[in-house]
C-alpha cells in the first residue's frame, strides 16, 4: 500500500487588506432555485419529468454523490449531514453500508445519467451536497469513515491517489486543551443521528482533509455536476498544530513585531479563545475566515480541474454572519442564508396573526438586509435565501406562516429587486414551480434589466461586520436592522457601505450617511466622514459615538471629535451644523416607523422618499430599489409590495396603487422613456415627467412586483 506523505508545507494565507480593494463587480441576472434532498432521484424518469415541468436555474440536491464527505461511498443517496446516518439495526435500511468499488462505479454511471437528465430537463446548475468539516464513524471500531479509509486502495480506479498517512482522529478540530471540538454536542456514546457512531468536526486547515475534500469534489465533477453546496462552510474553531503554525505566519504578516507586542502583549501571540472580544479575537476570526476561504477555493479549483470550466461553489453560512460573508465568501459563487427561525417564520410577506376575538396583528417579514448586503459588497458572491415557516411550529401556526403562490412570487421578486443576481429557495411543488417558472422566463427574457448595473441610492448605512469580534455586544447589527427598516418604510433608496467603502469619494454620492451604533472607527474613515459633512453631507450617528479605532485603541480624541460635540451625546436627539453639512446624533433609532427619514429630510432640507403623496401603513410596505447602468442615463426601478399574506388561507395580495414615484436620477433632465414590466402581468409604456429636478412616474397599481426601465433621451 502506498502512503501519501502530504506536504506539510503550509500555504501562506494572504494577509488581509493587502493592496487596493478589488474592482466592483456589477449585478447579474437573478435566478430560480430549488433545494431537494430526496433520496430517490437516480433511475427515476418520473423525477426528471417533474423537474422538466418547471426547471429551476439551480437545483441543489442532497448527497447524490459517488463519495460522501463523511462516510465515503455509501448506499444512501440524498439528505444532508444528519439524514441517512445509520445502518441496520439502528435504521430500517443499511444507509451507511459501504459501497463496493463495483457498486461505486455503477453509482457514478447513475449519477452521470441524473446530471445529464436534469440538464436536458432545463436545469442550468446541479449542485449536490458536501460539508466543509464533518466525518462520521468510530475510530476504535474502524466504522464509518475509518472503515472506508481501511479500504482506500480498493478505490484506486476513482483517482483517489494515495491514502492519507495519518489517522483521521488527528485531523479533528481541537480546543486549546487539545480536546476535540464538537459543534453538535451530544450526550451518551454516539451522535443520535449517527447511532452507534460519532460525528466529528475536522479541521479545514489539515492537508489530509483538504486532500480528501478535493477527491470527493473531483468525483462529483466527473459525474457532470456543475458545482457543490458546502454546508458548515464557516465552522472552524480549531487550535491544532497546523492552525497554530499558520496563525503565526498570518499574524506576523499583519503586524510588525513592535505592533504585536503593543497590541497583543507578545511578539508571538496565541490565537484567542473568544472569551474576550477585541483585536486578538478579531484577528483570530479573520485568520480562520481566510483559512475557510482558502478551503472553498480548493473546492472550486478541484472541480474546475475536472470540468475545465468554472465550478459553482455554494456555501452555507450567511445567516446572521455578515462578518463571514465579508471575510470568507466574497469570491464564492453563491452564499446561502439559512433563515429557519423568526418570530413569524421567515417567508417574505405579511403575517396576519390572530391575537384575540377578531383582532389580528400584521407582521411583515423581509430579507432585504441579506440580499442588499451581499449586493453592496460588489464582489463575485451572490445571495440565496432559504426561508421557512419555522422549526417544529404547531400546525395552527404553520398554517399562518406557510408559503403560498403569491408569497412564492414575492420571494422571487425580492431576490430580483434587491439581490443584484440572487435566488430564492422553493421546494419541489408543482404549483409553486409554475410561479417560479414565470419568474425564470422573465429573468431570462429580460436579463438586460438586471445585468451589468450598480445600485443607485440617496443614503448609505455604514455596516462594519467586524464589530461582532471587536466589541461583541451585538448592538451595531441590531441598529443596522432598524436603520434598514426605517429607510425601507420611508421609501429611501440606500446602500450599505463596508469599511473599505467609507471613502470621501464614495460618500460624496449620498445625501445622507448613517452610522448606526458604531463603537470602533478607523482614522481614515473618520476623516472621510469629516470631509463629507464639511462638504455639505448629512451624517446621522446613533447611540454612543465611536470611541475606539479599528485596532481597539482609544485615541486621544474620539474618532468623530471634529463632528460631534460631546455635550450633544447626552441628549436624545441633537443636530449640529458642521461646515456646509449637518450632524444628527440620536440616542437610539426606533425599530419601526421612519423616524430616521424625518431626521434626514430635516437635515438635508429636501424629500428623500422615492414615493410621493400620502402615506398609509400598507403603502409603507412597498419597497423601492434602483440600479443604474454605469456611465449611462439608464435606470431600473424595482417596486415590491410586501402586503402579501402568508399562510394556506387563500388571500390575494393587498394591491397598492396608484403610486407616484419621485426619483432623483442624475443625467435625466427631460421627460425620459419609461417602460414597466411585470413577470406576472403585461408590459406597458408609462409617462414620465421631470418636476423639481425629480423624475415623476405614476404606477396605476402594484400587485407584487414591477420593474420600470427609465432611459434618458
Amino acid at each position: 500500500m502506498r502512503i501519501l506523505i502530504l506536504p506539510i508545507l503550509l500555504l501562506v494565507l494572504p494577509a488581509a487588506a493587502i493592496g487596493d480593494p478589488p474592482e466592483p463587480v456589477l449585478t447579474k441576472a437573478p435566478f430560480t432555485y430549488i433545494l431537494d434532498y430526496g433520496p430517490d432521484h437516480i433511475r427515476s424518469p418520473a423525477y426528471l419529468e417533474t423537474i422538466s415541468q418547471g426547471p429551476p436555474t439551480l437545483l441543489h440536491l442532497g448527497k447524490d454523490v459517488p463519495f460522501t464527505h463523511n462516510w465515503g461511498p455509501i448506499q444512501a443517496l440524498g439528505g444532508e449531514n444528519q439524514a441517512y446516518g445509520r445502518r441496520k439495526p439502528y435504521a430500517d435500511q443499511d444507509y451507511i453500508r459501504r459501497l463496493s468499488p463495483e457498486e461505486t462505479g455503477q453509482r457514478i454511471t447513475d449519477l452521470k445519467k441524473l446530471a445529464d437528465g436534469l440538464h436536458k430537463a432545463g436545469v442550468t446548475w446541479v449542485t449536490p451536497y458536501i460539508c466543509s468539516m464533518t466525518i462520521g464513524g468510530h475510530p476504535e471500531r474502524r466504522a464509518g469513515f475509518w472503515e472506508f479509509l481501511d479500504h482506500w486502495d480498493e478505490y484506486r480506479p476513482f483517482d483517489l491517489g494515495s491514502r492519507p498517512a495519518t489517522d483521521p482522529i488527528q485531523w479533528l478540530q481541537v480546543a486549546p486543551d487539545g480536546k476535540p471540538v464538537f459543534f453538535y454536542t451530544f450526550e451518551g456514546d454516539f451522535y443520535p443521528a449517527y447511532e452507534p457512531n460519532i460525528r466529528y468536526a475536522v479541521c479545514q486547515n489539515r492537508p489530509e482533509w483538504r486532500y480528501w475534500t478535493e477527491k470527493i469534489v473531483e468525483n462529483i465533477a466527473r459525474c457532470g455536476f456543475d458545482g457543490v453546496f458546502v454546508d458548515n462552510a464557516g465552522s472552524l474553531r480549531c487550535h491544532c498544530g497546523v492552525c497554530r503554525e499558520k496563525w503565526q505566519t498570518w499574524i506576523q504578516g499583519r503586524y510588525t513585531a513592535d505592533e504585536r507586542q503593543r497590541l497583543f502583549g507578545s511578539e508571538s501571540p496565541e490565537m484567542s479563545d473568544g472569551k474576550q472580544p477585541g483585536l486578538l479575537w478579531a484577528e483570530t476570526c479573520r485568520f480562520r475566515c481566510a483559512s475557510l476561504a482558502e478551503h472553498l477555493k480548493a473546492i472550486a479549483d478541484a472541480g474546475r480541474r475536472i470540468t475545465g470550466k468554472p465550478f459553482v461553489v455554494f456555501p452555507n453560512g450567511g445567516e446572521k454572519r455578515p462578518e463571514h460573508i465579508l471575510h470568507i465568501y466574497p469570491e464564492a459563487d453563491l452564499i446561502m442564508f439559512e433563515r429557519s427561525v423568526g418570530p413569524h417564520g421567515t417567508h417574505p410577506g405579511m403575517v396576519l396573526r390572530p391575537v384575540v376575538e377578531d383582532i389580528r396583528v400584521k407582521k411583515y417579514n423581509d430579507n432585504v438586509f441579506e440580499y442588499k448586503f451581499v449586493q453592496c459588497l460588489r464582489r463575485k458572491v451572490r445571495p440565496i435565501l432559504l426561508t421557512r415557516p419555522g422549526y417544529n411550529v404547531p400546525t395552527s401556526e404553520r398554517k399562518l406562516l406557510e408559503m403560498n403562490l403569491a408569497s412564492a412570487a414575492l420571494g422571487n421578486a425580492e431576490a430580483a429587486a434587491f439581490g443584484g443576481g440572487g435566488g430564492f429557495l422553493q421546494r419541489v411543488d408543482p404549483e409553486l414551480m409554475q410561479v417560479q417558472k414565470q419568474f425564470r422566463d422573465f429573468f431570462e427574457r429580460h436579463a438586460a434589466l438586471y445585468e451589468g448595473l450598480n445600485s443607485h441610492a440617496d443614503a448609505a448605512v455604514v455596516v462594519l461586520p467586524d464589530l461582532a469580534w471587536l466589541d461583541g455586544n451585538g448592538r451595531h447589527p441590531l441598529e443596522v436592522r432598524k436603520a434598514t427598516g426605517n429607510l425601507l418604510d420611508g421609501h429611501v433608496l440606500f446602500d450599505y457601505l463596508i469599511a473599505d467603502q467609507v471613502t470621501a469619494e464614495n460618500l460624496a454620492r449620498y445625501a445622507a450617511v448613517v452610522l448606526p451604533r458604531v463603537s470602533h472607527l478607523a482614522a481614515n474613515q473618520a476623516e472621510a466622514l469629516r470631509r463629507y459633512v464639511e462638504a455639505g453631507g448629512v451624517l446621522v450617528v446613533t447611540g454612543t459615538p465611536p470611541e475606539f479605532n479599528e485596532k481597539g485603541e482609544r485615541p486621544a480624541r474620539p474618532p468623530l471629535a471634529d463632528l460631534i460635540d460631546p455635550a450633544t451625546t447626552a441628549k436624545p436627539l441633537a443636530t449640529s451644523q458642521v461646515g456646509k453639512g449637518t450632524t444628527v446624533v440620536a440616542a437610539a433609532l426606533p425599530a419601526e416607523g421612519a423616524k430616521l427619514v424625518e431626521w434626514i429630510e430635516g437635515a438635508a432640507g429636501r424629500q428623500v422618499s422615492a414615493i410621493a403623496g400620502p402615506e398609509t401603513p400598507a403603502r409603507s410596505k412597498v419597497r423601492v430599489n434602483v440600479f443604474r447602468q454605469p456611465g449611462k442615463a439608464r435606470y431600473v426601478v424595482h417596486m415590491v409590495n410586501y402586503n402579501v399574506p402568508l399562510g394556506v388561507e387563500d388571500r390575494g395580495p393587498e394591491v397598492q396603487g396608484p403610486i407616484e414615484l419621485s426619483l432623483r436620477l442624475p443625467g435625466i433632465t427631460s421627460a425620459p422613456k419609461a417602460r414597466c414590466y411585470d413577470p406576472q402581468g403585461r408590459e406597458s409604456e408609462i409617462s414620465a415627467q421631470v418636476r423639481d429636478g425629480k423624475i415623476r412616474l405614476a404606477i396605476p397599481e402594484l400587485r407584487i412586483y414591477k420593474v420600470v426601465e427609465v432611459v434618458g433621451s
Binding site: 390572530p354 384575540v356 383582532i359 396583528v361 441590531l478 436624545p572 419601526e592 416607523g593 401603513p617
Partner: protein, 252 residues
C-alpha cells in the same frame, strides 16, 4: 411614512442595569418578549396607559416597541420606549370596542400600568403571556358550568422553574404546584361546586424546592377559560364575560 406615536415622556428613570422597578397597584407583572394587553377604552374621553422599559442585562439593548391595534385590526399608534424610560400612551376613546396593545421588549423587560382602563393580558396557546420574575396576582374568569380547567406553563431556562398557586373565588388555594417546567406542562384544577361563573386568581412565585428560581415563565390558559389575565378582579369579570371567538372564547 411616519406613524405618529402619541406618547408623552414623563420620567426618565435612569434605572441601573439589572434592577426592575417594584410593581405598582394595577401594574402588570414584568413582561419579556412579545405580549398583548387587551384594552376596553369604553368610548369616553382619551385616556393613557403607562409603559416602562427596563433593562434586564447590559448585554441586551432592545427597547420596548409597542403597537396599539384597533377593533378592526388596524394600527392606531406604534412607537418605542427607550430603556429606563416611562411613557404615557394615549388611548383614544373612539373607536369603541376591544383594542390590543402589543408590547415587545425583546430580551429586555417592560411593565404596563393601565391606569384604570379595563384591561387584561392575553394568555392563549398561540399568544401566551411571557413573564419574568413571577407574578403576584392575576385574575381570570371561570365560566359557569366549567368543571375543570388547565393552566399551561413553560420555564425552559436552566435552573429556572415556578410555583403556581391557583386560588378560588374566596381566595383559598385550590392548586399549589411547582416544578422546573422545562417543557410545556399543564396544571389541572378542578372547579368545586359553586365556584364556577366567578373570578379566580393565580400567582407565580419562587419554588420552595431548592435550586430553582422563578424568572422567565410562559403561561397560557386552556380553551376551557377565556384567554384573559387581569390585574384587577372586576376587569377579569368584564373580560371573562365577553363573547369569544371560539378558541378560548367561552360562551355562557
Amino acid at each position: 411614512m411616519t406613524i405618529h406615536a402619541s406618547v408623552v415622556p414623563v420620567v426618565f428613570l435612569a434605572l441601573a442595569a439589572h434592577t426592575l422597578s417594584p410593581q405598582a397597584a394595577d401594574e402588570s407583572p414584568v413582561l419579556r418578549k412579545a405580549n398583548y394587553l387587551a384594552i376596553l377604552p369604553g368610548g369616553g374621553p382619551q385616556r393613557q396607559v403607562s409603559l416602562k422599559a427596563q433593562q434586564v442585562s447590559p448585554a441586551y439593548s432592545d427597547a420596548l416597541n409597542f403597537t396599539l391595534i384597533g377593533p378592526d385590526s388596524s394600527t392606531i399608534t406604534a412607537g418605542e420606549v427607550l430603556l429606563g424610560e416611562e411613557r404615557l400612551l394615549s388611548i383614544p376613546g373612539k373607536p369603541e370596542g376591544l383594542h390590543v396593545l402589543e408590547l415587545d421588549s425583546g430580551w429586555n423587560a417592560c411593565r404596563v400600568d393601565p391606569r384604570g382602563i379595563p384591561s387584561a393580558m392575553v394568555a392563549r396557546e398561540t399568544v401566551p403571556l411571557h413573564t419574568a420574575r413571577g407574578a403576584k396576582q392575576l385574575f381570570f374568569y371561570v365560566p359557569r358550568g366549567c368543571k375543570q380547567f388547565s393552566v399551561w406553563l413553560v420555564a425552559d431556562a436552566p435552573r429556572e422553574g415556578a410555583r403556581i398557586e391557583i386560588a378560588g373565588p374566596d381566595g383559598g388555594k385550590v392548586v399549589e404546584e411547582e416544578g422546573d417546567y422545562d417543557k410545556p406542562q399543564r396544571v389541572r384544577a378542578t372547579v368545586p361546586a359553586g365556584c364556577d361563573g366567578k373570578v379566580w386568581s393565580l400567582a407565580l412565585v419562587k419554588p420552595k424546592a431548592g435550586g430553582l428560581n422563578v424568572d422567565d415563565v410562559v403561561l397560557w390558559l386552556d380553551p376551557a377559560l377565556p384567554p384573559y389575565l387581569s390585574m384587577r378582579e372586576d376587569w377579569a369579570l368584564t373580560f371573562g364575560k365577553r363573547k369569544g371567538d371560539g378558541v378560548n372564547g367561552v360562551l355562557e
